[in-house]
Amino acid sequence: MKTLNYFWHFVIGSVAVVSRGTRAYYAWIALLVVVILIGVNAYVNQASMGLITANMRDPLSWGFYIGNFAFLVGVAAAAVVLVVPAYVYNWGPLRDVVLIAELLSVAAIVMCILFVTVDVGRPEFLWHLAPGVGTPNFPYSMLVWDILVLNAYFLINYFIVTYLLFMAFTGQKYNPSFIMPVIFLSIPLAVGIHSVTAMLFMGLKARAFWHTAILAPRFLSSAFCSGPALLLLIFQVLRRVGKIEISNQALFKIGELIAYAMAINIFFLGVEVFTEFYGETAHSVHARFQWFGIHGSSDIAIWTWLALACNSLAFICFMVPSLRYRLPVLSTACLLAISGVYIEKGMGLLLPGMTPGVLGEVYHYKPSLNEVMVSVGVWGIGALLFTLMVKVAMEITVGRMRYERS
């Protein structure tokens, strides 16, 4: 009964918090709502005409939606880069901000689920996947595993943040021996979600580009670059608009961690390229398409080189201390890293994987306007969710939102 009372006040309090803000806040929310409406409109168009409104076709049956999905699973997993120093090593500066990273995970997973939902041909039948009423193909289908671990990770992260915030809201002390094991569980689960997502692709022997052991390690290394980089940018925005304290020390440490992740990422890229081109076989045609184009189709080559340039430049900025400790340089490096990984893991994963197709066909794919609008709408929903959650979290963390008996 008391808990219900607390919960009710929590909800009321949250609604009050998110409906008040600066002019910039209102403008941001308005922008997101517009973006979401554009996405919803585009999705209604897709739902009424079918996936034919997308540019995917039989030779290239997965495209922009699944590319975004792969990228966002990485962002969700990357919270672990902050969770480990914060909780395992109890490092103060990151301890203060790790909650925001966990909130980003939650928002990212929601976007992942939405991207899969907009990609399937008959979303009204997604219940076919539910155990009991449906017939999930467990343990053979990696998609079922992915759904399981993604939901588990979502629930765990959501539970952690809700518990910690709720306890702070009601002025109670959280119980470390209760919540710490749950937090520790989220660490291997983070590695798990991204490995399982990689296994989705890796297990397909029909697709030589994906059928490689290095896909899972690469997914993780690129995720640990893009996710924390995104957080680094978000922290700086929050510092300014939310008037919360986030130390530069925390930012520089994250930058340092990204440097290590990027080094590994580039190393993995190097060994991939070596294997494909030194011992070139017919299977290397996909890598050839990726870097140089084939049969007069160079759809993606320029983007691949661009991604390499972005990642390399970002790496240098993160690695060299005199560059890393300059916030404008650090922020630019973050943008470069995010762009580089987004290209690599989005279109740079999907297009070469399916070009040429299994019977040698080259299908020129560029997402249709409708696909892009739906995708932008999904990002809008994620951003809105994240904004609202962070606003509430910040108010509670600084003590401005507390349970008060009315």
């Binding site: 079918g50 030779p59 996947l129 998609l143 397909l204």
Partner: protein
């Protein structure tokens, strides 16, 4: 003056959007119990179970319902059945690439027999044209051209290889399907429960042979061209948003007939039979002809054997 074609497209889009919103609205209304609104939303078909979960009675109900539905839709007597596999039968297919002339009669016979969508166009069989000279080191599928368009075939110095579902013994597609909508039947046919498929297209990513096709748009078959003799797991009309593929003409072979593609072939390039019967044609050619399968290194164990006659 707006382009009339574009106008039609907009009208169609507008119409389908209105229809979608209408269905969504009636669905919502039905959910709220509005009288008479439930007609637009078919609860029975929405809640239909996976084929493999259903009892014989339930399957009978489904095929009855679909027979009535399609008879009404296409204005002719349609029967949907769910005939089970014959005992001691595992089907195999043979294709003589020394005979194939690339006429594509098999492709079109398949379209007619299996009620494939005319627009958007779906073909379960894809015929690849290769240059004889380019293939001296073996067939490279990348060199295959499915879009050849000659006045007469076979074109000079070319040979032809039709590709469709291989009905693999170790099919990667059935492994990856998240809902278990596709599986291998006891008679070796890899089937799809078209009412269960959610359209995730994971099977299409997994298939090494490009056998599976997706209904990106609303499929349509003109009523006068509909083949009314249907099997639930075979040539019944599919809906938008599901994957489909060759079913070895399950509606024919389980009644002892040949697949439509074999009957259509004017040069006798296609062979079909029971792999478990030592006296069958397919066993004969496996024994006496030089056979190969596509992408054998992948270990899918296709039951579709190419050979030189």
């Amino acid at each position: 003056m707006s382009d009339p074609n574009k106008r039609d497209e907009r009208e169609v889009r507008g119409a389908s959007r209105r229809e979608f919103l209408k269905v969504a609205a009636t669905g919502a209304a039905a959910a709220m119990g509005a009288p008479g609104a439930a007609q637009a939303f078919d609860f029975e078909s929405f809640l239909q179970k996976n084929f493999r979960q259903m009892s014989d009675e339930e399957i009978d109900e489904v095929v009855d319902r679909l027979s009535r539905k399609y008879s009404k839709k296409y204005g002719k007597e349609v029967t949907v059945n769910a005939v089970g596999p014959l005992d001691d039968v595992v089907y195999g297919y043979g294709l003589d690439i020394s005979r194939c002339i690339g006429c594509r009669r098999c492709v079109y016979a398949c379209v007619d027999e299996n009620n494939q969508s005319r627009d958007p166009q779906i073909h379960w069989i894809r015929v690849l044209e290769f240059e004889r000279e380019a293939a001296i080191r073996g067939i490279d599928l990348e060199d295959g051209n499915p879009y050849y368009d000659h006045e007469t075939v076979p074109a000079e110095d070319k040979f032809y290889m039709p590709v469709s579902c291989m009905h693999c013994e170790d099919s990667p597609c059935t492994n990856v399907c998240p809902t278990g909508a596709t599986w291998s039947e006891p008679d070796g046919i890899v089937v799809i429960d078209y009412d269960w498929c959610i359209g995730c297209r994971y099977c299409m990513a997994a298939c090494p042979y490009g056998a599976r096709k997706f209904n990106w748009g609303e499929p349509n078959v003109p009523a006068e061209e509909i083949n009314p003799d249907m099997h639930l797991l075979g040539n019944r009309p599919r809906s938008r948003g599901v994957v489909e593929k060759c079913s070895f003409c399950i509606q024919r072979v389980r009644k002892g007939r040949y697949p439509a593609c074999l009957e259509a072939c004017p040069v006798g390039a296609r062979k079909f039979g029971n792999l478990l019967d030592p006296d069958s044609e397919i066993r004969y050619l496996l024994k006496h002809k030089r056979t190969f399968v596509l992408k054998s290194e992948l270990g899918t164990n296709p039951k579709f054997f190419y050979f030189y006659g």
